[in-house]
């Protein structure tokens, strides 16, 4: 773990924080795009060490949080079918749909299995030729290549019992939507390092240019995060709005071309609904017609889905960086990880869950 320890070096973090303090001369509002970055900021305590002038708003980059309710309700209906083995990343199991979650479906007899990779789901399909195996293909550009690979592999193997329920999200469209939203406060982005590891950052210069915002490709360790903040603050001070790579040990401008090719082969860009936000153009990946046979939506007719969202939770505003989790009246009282009102309290990458787990000094203990 020496490699990681190097990027948690506290002396270096404090030195970089000193540089940020020397640099600040006004208010800065920066958005870290990825939920993994939010967790790292809060978990390491960095969020408390940044100067008051720097406000972090937590972006929509938590795949679990932004999966639309109707997609989750559809997943629950498919998973409840006796002919189906429903496979998913662990995080999705606790996300409440309108009436249930995947844990409850499993408790009622549904065959719901946690997998670490969609390729495990393909293997389960091979081993269970008399069952239908569905993989819940969610995530950002980071998980898209493996999900695409699973479809390609299932086709090569001639599997007729494998399908994917796709709800893929893409970062650039969401960044544009945030910048276009009335009342936007975000002045600069810490772009999601893992997404860029796959996609590179060639998609970002038009955004930086059009909206005059610095975009700094940023990693996840404390040293990475403070480097990202420092770079964004410097750009804002100097009136620059450029795409800058502060995560060079992992990310290159072109990204992983093979992975991108695979994604493009299987998926196409299109509009997508974002839970708590609404539909955003060019922000989702959908199976191409050539792979329509692997689409779980077409394969399973589950009737009409009537999803009901509650007006209580402010996840939408949190995902757009308008509010902090602690500004929600339900935070830590009505809404906890055991009784989440919204997906942002559920996922390990959700902003509310990060605040609840690590950062509630003012909330009193119940009982």
């Amino acid at each position: 773990m020496k490699h990681l320890t190097e990027y948690r070096d506290k002396d270096l973090v404090h030195k970089l924080l000193g540089q940020i303090r020397a640099e600040v001369r006004r208010e800065y509002v920066l958005m870290e795009v990825c939920g993994g970055q939010t967790h790292s900021f809060v978990r390491s305590g960095l969020v408390e060490l940044l100067p008051d002038e720097v406000t972090l708003v937590h972006g929509p980059g938590c795949p679990v949080c932004v999966t639309p309710l109707e997609v989750i309700d559809r997943a629950l209906k498919i998973a409840a079918r006796p002919d189906v083995i429903f496979t998913s990343f662990g995080d999705m199991l606790r996300v409440p749909g309108s009436e249930a979650d995947l844990f409850s479906v499993r408790a009622k007899g549904g065959d719901v299995r946690v997998v670490y990779s969609p390729l495990d789901a393909v293997r389960i399909a091979q081993e269970n030729p008399d069952r239908q195996v569905v993989f819940f293909a969610i995530g950002f550009e980071t998980t898209a290549p493996a999900n695409a690979m699973s479809v390609v592999q299932a086709e090569r193997l001639g599997l007729t019992n494998y399908s994917v329920l796709v709800s893929h999200a893409c970062v650039p469209g969401a960044m544009r939507a945030i910048l276009d939203a009335p009342g936007n406060r975000v002045q600069g982005f810490l772009a999601a390092g893992h997404v860029c590891a796959v996609m590179g950052y060639w998609e970002y210069p038009p955004i930086a240019e059009q909206y005059k915002v610095p975009i700094v490709v940023t990693g996840f360790e404390p040293v990475d995060l403070v480097r990202g903040v420092l770079a964004a603050v410097r750009q804002l001070n100097e009136g620059r709005a450029e795409v800058e790579n502060a995560y060079q040990r992992i990310v290159s401008e072109p990204g992983n071309r093979e992975a991108q090719k695979l994604v493009t082969e299987v998926f196409e860009l299109g509009p997508r609904g974002w839970r708590g936000i609404g539909e955003i153009p060019d922000s989702g990946l959908h199976l191409r017609d050539a792979y329509a046979d692997f689409d779980a939506v077409r394969r399973f007719d589950v009737g009409d889905i009537h999803s009901v969202e509650s007006p209580v939770c402010i996840a939408g505003e949190i995902l757009q960086g308008r509010k902090k989790p602690t500004e929600c009246p339900a935070f830590g009282t009505e809404c906890t990880p055991d009784h989440p009102l919204g997906a942002t309290m559920v996922s390990s990458e959700g902003a509310c869950a990060a605040y609840y787990r690590y950062h509630r000094p003012t909330v009193t203990v119940n009982g």
Binding site: A107, Q320, Y358, V365
Partner: protein, 354 residues
Amino acid sequence: MSNAPPTNPLNASCPTPLPQHERVVLGHGGGGRLTSDLIEKLFRPVLSSRVLAEGDDSAVLDTGTGRLAFSTDAHIVHPLEFPGGDIGRLAVCGTVNDLAMVGARPRWLSAAFIIEEGLPTDLLARIAASMQRAAEEAGVELVAADTKVAPRGTVDGLQIASGGVGLIPDGRDVRAANAKPGDAVLVSGPIGNHGIAVLAARGELAFDTTLRSDAAPLNSLVERLFDAGVAVHVLRDPTRGGVAASLNEIAKASAVSIVLNEEAIPIDPQVEAASEMLGFDPLHIANEGKLIAIVPSGDAERALTAMKELSVGEGAVPIGRVEEAPAGRVLLETALGPTRIIDMPAGELLPRIC
């Protein structure tokens, strides 16, 4: 910031909470908040006693001539054998350790075997022999046992329910409610090895590890602490729910705050790597051969020296301290300085481990 709804097209909305669970979910067995919920809300109102309500690892019973510790435990784990142990060793160590954690000297164990039709007999024999070895290691006797066979598909191979009785020497008072402000918090070695070793044995990690479960009886370690004259306040073996769950239970029972030092917590690099990859917090991962000891700070050095004399305690280190406030809360001083909360794990964190 106004509370007015945001302007379209970015319309904020969110789902309603789920009603109470109508059925038991796996998370109810995770040793975290859902488990407490099940106990507090379902069991306690209809099935309880004064002793059960004390919530320690073993019941402490006054016989008039001395004190008995009595404990019961059920064991399910997949696979049945894994590097460093098997379900039989787990059953013995788990029961012995529950007794030792109230300061008892474990003496007698019972075991009930619920066996799935079709289980290979040579596997069952290996597990039985492993139990005997663990019992000898711990210096306890298996004095009662029962066997049931269940139809194929109704049990996953083998489940073991165990019970244990121990004697508590006079003068010992070890309970979750005994932590005092100023006390030192010690752990007997690196955490998380059991949980990750079992995950790896299931083939659920994308890489190989050389990790072994730490499953071990801890009663000799406890005796060593008392022999050294340490005024032990609290002992816990952080099994399901990990160190985070144990410390939260202690903080709540003692109405104190426990403050950990992130850099002091011993974690094997392989456990750390696997946790990073899977998004787990090592503080939430199960151990089967580690204990947390809370002792007066003046006794801390003596306690550490005593524990290090045994191989099962050779990695003993101080990891934190007990403070008065905020009562019921476990905090962690991060390597960078600021303090954050260590919460109970919610429910099912890992695919079920044991």
